[in-house]
């Protein structure tokens, strides 16, 4: 039975067309996955259903929930529907909860807004709902505050708020994107269980094909505000009828071509030798008379990177990956250990010498925050020239180096005149790589460098990185939570947990035959397209 039917939905915001005739339907107890890259209009489709569109939006077409057109409803009527008939779960659990209200109050609020129940009854419903999402009364009493919970637990509270009144339709917009793989697996299981128990329909929006393959009954693939393909999940992925679906599929399981890693030549020193690194953070004093305690973010970590070798570093958020990277870059004082970079010992207390810093550069995750918005590209990418002091190229030589760096990453020399906001996310990440390359370092630290990119862009950047590594004999320290990406581009991998390296070895061996329990857990939790499709085929 059809629960939600969207017919010919068009949307424009201030004259710019966003959605161009969307037709979708969701049946009771069915999970519809909407996949697409950023800007494809998948979130706007969800917001159209909720009628939570930005100012200046014009919608046309029809969105029927149980036969009633939501587009004809007044704002007052929509207020009744939101939260009662349609629930919504957002991407960012950190900002979706009010930090000043207890979790019990926030779940009860949904109940109190829509029904004539007493506070006591609402609290009871809140309790039951929190139990259903796996936050038991013993560890999670109603008077807990959001800041006392982890990201995954907060997302459970957000889900509890959405399902407290057993809505007929649940919309989940990238609900697991901000979470670690192990937490993601748990939340996906929870959502599936809730759909089965309540028989509600769910729209699950994501950019991750593997997640959809494992979860959704049907999928719709969106691009540029249109649905390019829709159908049964297994059929869509097996047949790959539409070229765009095929391209997405290829991009998300893309493995960049790499030359097999060569054994380090005898006598060459490793690019990076870090021994027994320890980094403590001071915690706020609990008492005036006791010394402050410390939190050990990186605990006695040693690692070596050979010339031309790509090393992956995986682990969950809070495991100390980024702290380790900052320690290697000598941006923070160490409490123990030593870092030797291409023969130069870094002095973490006084900061590394300019000469040592020339050997390494970094690329960050967020392509939007990595650049000073007030500088042009030429000034941005030549920033590392500061390390060369008086030897820094000037005049024509500087122009030549800028053009060379931009061309190496696939941009044109004319782009040097532009500001960063004139580029897309993928292009900005290329600029970030150009900035890292311009002084020809031996080691580049890539801190989640492809995590914020769409799959097709990610595939291009991975190709670029693999090509640069073999051409320029570069070494990478590749930090990521995405196991698939790490597997495709690294020679060796280190698994980090709670500040310690729990396992390390050749990438293939670690993934094929993980030794440590935590590595096994990580690999099992990571969504895999092949595994999900194989499971579906086995069922059918």
């Amino acid at each position: 039975m059809t629960l939600l039917a969207i017919k010919g939905l068009t949307l424009d915001i201030a004259g710019t067309p966003i959605l161009k005739g969307i037709d979708l339907s969701v049946a009771k107890g069915e999970i519809l996955g909407i996949i697409g890259e950023s800007g494809s209009g998948k979130s706007m489709t969800a917001l159209s259903v909720m009628q939570l569109l930005p100012d200046g939006a014009h919608v046309a077409g029809s969105i029927e929930l149980d036969g009633k057109d939501l587009l004809q409803k007044s704002e007052r009527e929509m207020c009744d529907i939101r939260g009662r008939d349609v629930g919504m779960v957002f991407q960012e659990p950190m900002t979706a909860l009010n930090p000043l209200k207890t979790i019990g109050d926030q779940v009860a609020e949904t109940v109190l807004t829509h029904t004539q129940t007493s506070r006591a009854d609402a609290a009871k419903i809140a309790r039951e709902t929190l139990d259903r999402v796996g936050l038991g009364a013993e560890r999670f009493p109603l008077d807990r505050y959001p800041h006392e919970l982890s990201g995954g637990q907060r997302q459970r509270v957000v889900i509890a708020m959405a399902i407290a009144l057993r809505p007929r339709l649940l919309i989940a917009d990238e609900p697991t994107t901000a979470l670690d793989v192990t937490t993601q697996a748990q939340i996906l299981m929870l959502l599936k269980r809730l759909v089965d128990e309540d028989g509600m329909g769910m729209i699950f929006i994501t950019h991750d094909l593997a997640v959809v393959a494992g979860l959704a009954d049907r999928v719709a693939v969106m691009r540029h505000g249109e649905i390019v393909e829709t159908g049964e999940t297994a059929a869509v992925f097996r047949e790959l009828k539409h070229p765009y679906t095929r391209a997405l599929f290829a991009a998300s399981s893309h493995v960049p071509k790499r030359e097999p890693p060569q054994a380090p030549e005898a006598g060459t020193a490793p690019v990076l030798e870090a021994a027994n690194i320890t980094r403590d953070y001071r915690l706020p004093r609990k008492s005036l008379f006791r010394p402050p305690s410390f939190f050990r973010a990186v605990d006695d970590v040693s690692l070596t990177i050979e010339r031309g070798e790509n090393v992956g570093l995986v682990g969950e958020s809070g495991s100390g990956k980024s702290t380790l990277a900052r320690a290697i870059m000598a941006l923070e004082p160490l409490q123990g250990g030593a870092v030797v970079l291409d023969g130069e010992t870094l002095n973490a207390v006084a900061g590394a010498s300019q000469k040592a810093r020339r050997k390494m550069q970094v690329v960050f995750q967020d392509p939007y925050g990595s650049f000073n918005p007030r500088h042009r590209v030429d000034r941005l990418i030549t920033e590392p020239f500061h390390l060369l002091g008086s030897e820094a190229p000037a005049g024509d030589e500087r122009q030549r180096r800028i053009a060379e760096a931009l061309e190496t990453v696939g941009l044109s020399p004319e782009d040097a005149e532009k500001y960063p906001h004139e580029f897309s996310g993928g292009q900005r990440q290329r600029i970030a790589i150009a900035r890292a390359l311009i002084i020809k370092p031996a080691l580049i630290i890539l801190d989640e460098a492809v995590s914020a990119l769409d799959v097709s862009i990610r595939a291009q950047i991975l190709d670029l990185l693999a090509d640069l590594s073999s051409r320029l004999k570069l070494s990478y320290l590749f930090i990521s939570h995405d196991l698939h990406v790490v597997r495709s581009i690294t020679d060796r991998v280190l698994v980090m947990k709670a500040g310690k390296i729990v396992e390390s070895g050749r990438t293939g061996e670690v993934f094929e035959n993980p030794q440590h329990a935590y590595t096994r857990e990580l690999i099992a939790a990571a969504p895999s397209l092949e595994a999900a499709l194989a499971a579906r085929t086995a069922q059918a």
Partner: protein
């Protein structure tokens, strides 16, 4: 000015500051109002309709006329001339006082942000708190008690009051920038805190500072008026808008224009400066500059 015009002619730079400025309505209006008063102050050095200090008791408290555009005050002095000369005092006091605040306050704030959490940060900010605890008027009274009243002392008093304003503002704005990735990238490029503060932090807090400058500028004019009103600012016969307002208050029912005109001058200048500040904030942002075309 010539540089800016040259930029607007150069075809390869369609996003010049000057072009952007002309597109911003609030900047154009605000700058025009401000320009009128600055011009009046400049012209007053060379020419005023009458000698601003010349008394003409028989013609006192005359209304507006062709001979006296803004009428005359209780000593028969020409109000138009006094407004022109008064603009000198008001603008000079506000300009120098705000300049003091920016020149001393901003580096202090940037230094505190660069060394956040250390003893230096603590010393700078607590010293600022201490200065902040004294209102400008009280500082002025203290300075006057020691050095005697006058425009210079008013400037110093208002200027001292401005330092913690800019120190706090730049520290707060800089703190959020220090956690950004591009600052980390600059540190990886081996740049020290001073260089990062000047190259990366300062340009990015500039729009915040510009807005605060215009606010402090208008507050400076008001503070000068207030100090002159209680007799701690410019001393007679040198006119200032605040002093004119103070002298006129007992005559407000007899000759309202003597009070209204300096009052209007203050209001219009402040309005002009605030509008200009709003416009400048948009203009200094390269993102809004490109998208405007």
């Amino acid at each position: 000015m010539t540089v800016e015009i040259a930029k607007s002619i150069a075809p390869e730079k369609p996003d010049s500051l000057w072009r952007a400025a002309l597109h911003s309505r609030s900047f154009v209006i605000g700058a025009s109002i401000t320009a009128v008063f600055v011009l009046a102050a400049l012209i007053s050095f060379a020419w005023t309709p009458y000698n601003y200090a010349a008394q003409d008791i028989p013609n006192k408290l005359k209304g507006m006329s062709a001979a006296h555009w803004f009428g005359t005050d209780h000593f028969g002095r020409d109000v138009f001339s006094m407004i022109m000369v008064g603009a000198r005092t008001s603008i000079a006091v506000a300009l120098v006082a705000v300049g003091m605040g920016v020149v001393f306050g901003t580096p202090l704030g940037l230094a505190a942000a660069a060394r956040r959490g250390t003893l230096l940060d603590e010393i700078i900010m607590r010293a600022n708190d201490l200065v902040f605890a004294f209102p400008a008027l009280l500082i002025a009274v203290l300075i006057t008690a020691v050095f005697g009243p006058g425009a210079i002392n008013a400037i110093i008093a208002i200027g001292i009051f401005n330092i913690p304003v800019f120190a706090r503002l730049s520290r707060a704005a800089a703190l959020s920038l220090w956690t950004r990735d591009f600052i980390l990238a600059a540190r990886v490029a081996g740049k020290g805190p001073v260089r990062i503060s000047v190259e990366h932090i300062l340009p990015n807090i500039l729009n915040t500072l510009v807005v605060q400058v215009t606010i402090q500028f208008s507050l400076g004019i008001l503070a000068e008026a207030a100090l002159a009103y209680v007799g701690l600012g410019a001393q007679p016969p040198i006119p200032s808008w605040g002093k004119m307002l103070a002298d006129a208050q007992t005559l407000i029912s007899l000759a309202p224009h003597v009070a209204i005109i300096p009052g209007l001058a203050i209001v219009l200048t402040v309005l002009g400066l605030n509008l200009m500040g709003d416009g400048l904030r948009d203009i200094f942002d390269p993102r809004s500059r490109r998208s405007r075309q």
